[in-house]
């Protein structure tokens, strides 16, 4: 075989390189990218639509009365909790990025429990109605608020079918570095985008649910056929909340 101790790369090396880079996520050529969500995307690479972040919540595993996911989100993103930095707002004005809901089926009486947060729709009404474009959907499906240009009109809050968004009613300090947030802007669950971007592959709520032993929340790349979430939703029936609106949410639920 030919020597390959020159700077160039032979075809065989190229293939091996390709396989390795599949694990690391590297740009091989413009537009050609092998990506695995489990690894950190390189810092200078933008989010790509080849990935779609999704979350699967198994309501049969979600424990009634447990709110580990809510507490974890509060601590990770710096809102709410007993030491909330919203000192003046009343209970209805304080932010709520994620909430636990207990339901009972009206006809059968069966009860379920589930966390409710921004559904990260593929066709988000909040993005459609934002006058400045501050409410945006990132290429990989995460819906965010660009608080640099949010004018605080709250129209997105009127438009959200899930009541997922909150408005900050007072001046804040001691924000979490992961989630800058301030007076007069609207906010919602960010899908822990700071964790996903650095390669954690999961969110604070999912980690807390797993740590508590319930394992009701599963996070992953819906477009990656090898991911656990993609395989699960392909195998079992899952629902989206208010599916009739045609929003194609990134959050899927089992058991309701």
């Amino acid at each position: 075989m030919s020597e390959n101790n020159h700077a160039g790369v032979t075809r065989r090396d190229f293939l091996e390189l390709g396989l390795k880079s599949a694990a690391a996520g590297v740009v091989l050529a413009p537009g050609v990218m092998l990506y695995s969500a489990a690894e950190a995307r390189p810092a200078d690479e933008p989010a790509s639509s080849k990935v779609r972040w999704g979350m699967l919540i198994d309501t049969s595993k979600c424990a009634s009365g447990c709110d580990a996911c809510v507490t974890a989100c509060e601590k990770e993103n710096g809102w709410g909790g007993p030491n909330s930095n919203e000192k003046h707002s009343n209970a209805l004005q304080k932010s709520q990025w994620i909430r636990k809901v207990e339901l009972r089926n009206v006809d059968t009486g069966a009860t379920s429990s589930l966390p409710m947060m921004c559904q990260h729709c593929a066709n988000p009404p909040c993005v459609d109605v934002c006058p400045t474009g501050a409410s945006m959907k990132r290429a990989d499906g995460i819906v965010l608020v660009d608080r640099h240009i949010c004018i605080g009109c709250r129209y997105c809050m009127m438009a959200c079918p899930y009541k997922a968004r909150s408005f900050v009613h007072e001046e804040l300090e001691n924000q979490s570095v992961n989630a800058p947030r301030g007076k007069g802007c609207v906010e919602a669950c960010t899908f822990c985008v700071h964790k996903l971007d650095r390669g954690d592959g999961t969110t604070a709520c999912a980690e807390a649910c797993n740590a508590d032993g319930h394992k009701a929340i599963l996070v992953g790349d819906l477009k990656d056929p090898n991911s656990e979430i993609a395989q699960t939703v392909a195998k079992y029936a899952t629902t989206q909340i208010r599916a009739e609106l045609g929003l194609n949410t990134g959050m899927r639920y089992q058991g309701i």
Partner: protein, 399 residues
Amino acid sequence: MKKPLFTQIEGGKGFYSLLVLLGAFILAALGSVYYMEHNGHWVTGMNNQIVWGMPHVFAIFLIVAASGALNVASIGSVFGKKMYKPLAPLSGLLAIALLVGGLMVLVLDLGRPDRLLVAMTHYNFKSIFAWNIILYNGFLAIVAVYLWTMMEKRMNRYTTVAGFAAFFWRLILTTGTGSIFGFLVAREAYNAALLAPMFVIMSFAFGLAFFMLVLFAIYKWSGRPLGDGVVQRLKNLLGVFIGAVLYFVLVYHLTNLYITERHGVEAFILRDGGIYTTLFWVGQIVIGSLLPLVLFYHPTLGKNRNLIGFGALLVILGGLAQLYVLLIGGQAYPLEIFSGYEVLHGFNEGMINSYTPTGWEISLGLGGVAFALALVAVAIKVLRFMPQSLADDAVDVHH
């Protein structure tokens, strides 16, 4: 029929007292705005469930009335009714003033009003709200040009063209305002194509009522003659508009009552909603629609100018009630997120949301109205908006 003579109104003690009174309301509003903006919205009654409150009720009312106030001028320029032509300059002025007042309230309630420049330079063209910003600014420009064609003698021949442009622009604008609510899929009380034309018809009624009140006040307080011919025709027109609004309200509720999914929100508004039900039946229907119709079409009461003015005021109050029920009531009724399920526990899931407006918000709303009226008062003193006489012999009452 000689051409009407337009003159400035005289000043005097009454005029300056009026400005001082309006100025007090404006200052109170500015003070409220400073307090709300400096502390944050926690000082208001608005929260994460009721995100749009009293300021928005006033703002939307003023904006809708602004578009309708231009109607009088349009009837003259577009439909060629001669009696309305001398009224056109005041109509255009009132339209601009009401819109500016409404926008003032809307912008000052933003979470970040310091980012107004961002709002005017970053546009998401899929958002009807962004389109409204463009439509509002365009309206101000078009009506200003329209006024110019009316008041500058050599431009008079362009009045018809400007009138047509203004007429179509304001129809699109009001359709856009109604669509702010009509386009929302999330909420049961909105999400209806009917809301856009309903807002257009509401604008006709509210705008004309405002115009009539302002007209009566100006002529009474400046001692100029205002004939019954003009008053009766405007009164009859307002009666027609009130009837039209009632028709749209009827169709809206009938349709919702037919749709099983909407029975919840209909029961809420029409029967179980407490303050919202009261405001709907007593405020919007009785005070805002039925009572003025009785006053206007009664053989003797309908000839009394004071009662006609009172009827116009009732229409305005009914309009505010209607917007309160639509805006706040629509948010108070919970979102139907988990259909088929009853919520045992959550964060305000499935619960009627409560809202208590604070003095700060009401003060801001009233300040917007005062600002609009102050603009009109100063303008008619400084420029020649008002015909010297609108007595029956000075206007062409039958055309």
